[in-house]
Symmetry: C2
C-alpha cells in the first residue's frame, strides 16, 4: 500500500468505527426505546437518530458528491428542537434512511483519492479556500465523525 | 502549504475541536457538579474526566512520544468502574492534569510530519504492522478523538 492509500483507509476506519458503534446501540434498542429520552428532559433517541441522519445526508451536497436522499428530516431534526414537529418517518423507515445515507456516503469515501479528500467543501468560497485550505472534505468528515460519536455516547444511556 | 501540511493541520483541528468543546463544558461545571452523575445511575462527570485523562496520558507510551504524567489514574478510572476506588486527585488537580496531558500531546502532534503520523504505535508488532499498516499513530489519535467526543456528549447532560 502507498502512504496515500494507508491514510485513506485510516480515515475510513475511524468513520466506520463510530457508525458501527452507533449501529450496535440502535440494534439493541426496540422501536419503543427509541421514543425514550436519552436522559431526563433530554432529546429522544429517535430525535438523535433523525438529527444524525439529516446531518449526514447534508454531506452529499456539502461535499459535492451527489443528491440528498432525505431532505424531509431537516425541519424536524435540525431546524427545530425535539417534539416541536411530528416525526415524518416511522422507526423502521428512519432506521432504513440512516443505513442508506451512511452506506452511500461510505461508498463515495471509498472512491476518494487524497486529492479528492483535500478538495474544498461547497460551503467555502474559492477565495476563502486559498487562505484556509484546511476547510476541506477531510475536515468535514472528521468533524461529522466526532459529532456522531458525541450523540452516540448520549444514546448509549438508554440501553 | 503543502498537501502534507494541510493534512496535519486538518487532523490537529479535529482533535482540538473536541478537546475545546469538552473544556467548555468543564468550565461551566463547578467542582460540585463534577461529582454529579451524567444521568441517573451513570458515571460521575469526575469519573469521565479521570477516564479521559488516563486514556490520553496512555498515548505518550502508546505513540512512543515520551513518559506518562499520571499513571495514578489508571486504576480508579480505567481498571475499575466509578466509585469503586477513591479519587486520587482533587477536582482542581484533575482539571490541571487533563489540561497538562492534552497540552503536551498537542505540542507533540504539532511537530509530527506525515511520516511520523504513519509510524506504527507501540501496541502492534513489527510483523503485524507490515500486514496492517493502518494500525498507526493517526488511527490512535482519530479514535481517541471520537472517544473523547463520546464522553463529552454524556458530560454535557450535566449542564
Amino acid at each position: 500500500m502507498t502512504n496515500e492509500e494507508i491514510l485513506g483507509v485510516t480515515v475510513l476506519n475511524s468513520w466506520r468505527l463510530v457508525i458501527n458503534r452507533f449501529n450496535k446501540t440502535l440494534s439493541e434498542l426496540s422501536d419503543e426505546q427509541l421514543q425514550q429520552q436519552a436522559a431526563p428532559a433530554r432529546n429522544r433517541v429517535f430525535y438523535l437518530l433523525g438529527h444524525l441522519t439529516a446531518m449526514h445526508d447534508r454531506m452529499f451536497t456539502l461535499l459535492g458528491i451527489g443528491a440528498r436522499l432525505h431532505t424531509e428530516l431537516d425541519e424536524p431534526y435540525i431546524a427545530n428542537p425535539d417534539r416541536v414537529l411530528g416525526d415524518p418517518l416511522s422507526a423502521t423507515e428512519l432506521r432504513r434512511a440512516w443505513a442508506e445515507v451512511n452506506d452511500k456516503l461510505t461508498r463515495a469515501f471509498e472512491g476518494f483519492t487524497w486529492e479528492d479528500w483535500l478538495q474544498k467543501h461547497t460551503a467555502v468560497s474559492d477565495e476563502d479556500f486559498i487562505k484556509h485550505p484546511m476547510r476541506n472534505r477531510l475536515a468535514v468528515v472528521m468533524n461529522r465523525t466526532s459529532h456522531a460519536s458525541y450523540h452516540a455516547g448520549q444514546a448509549a444511556f438508554t440501553k
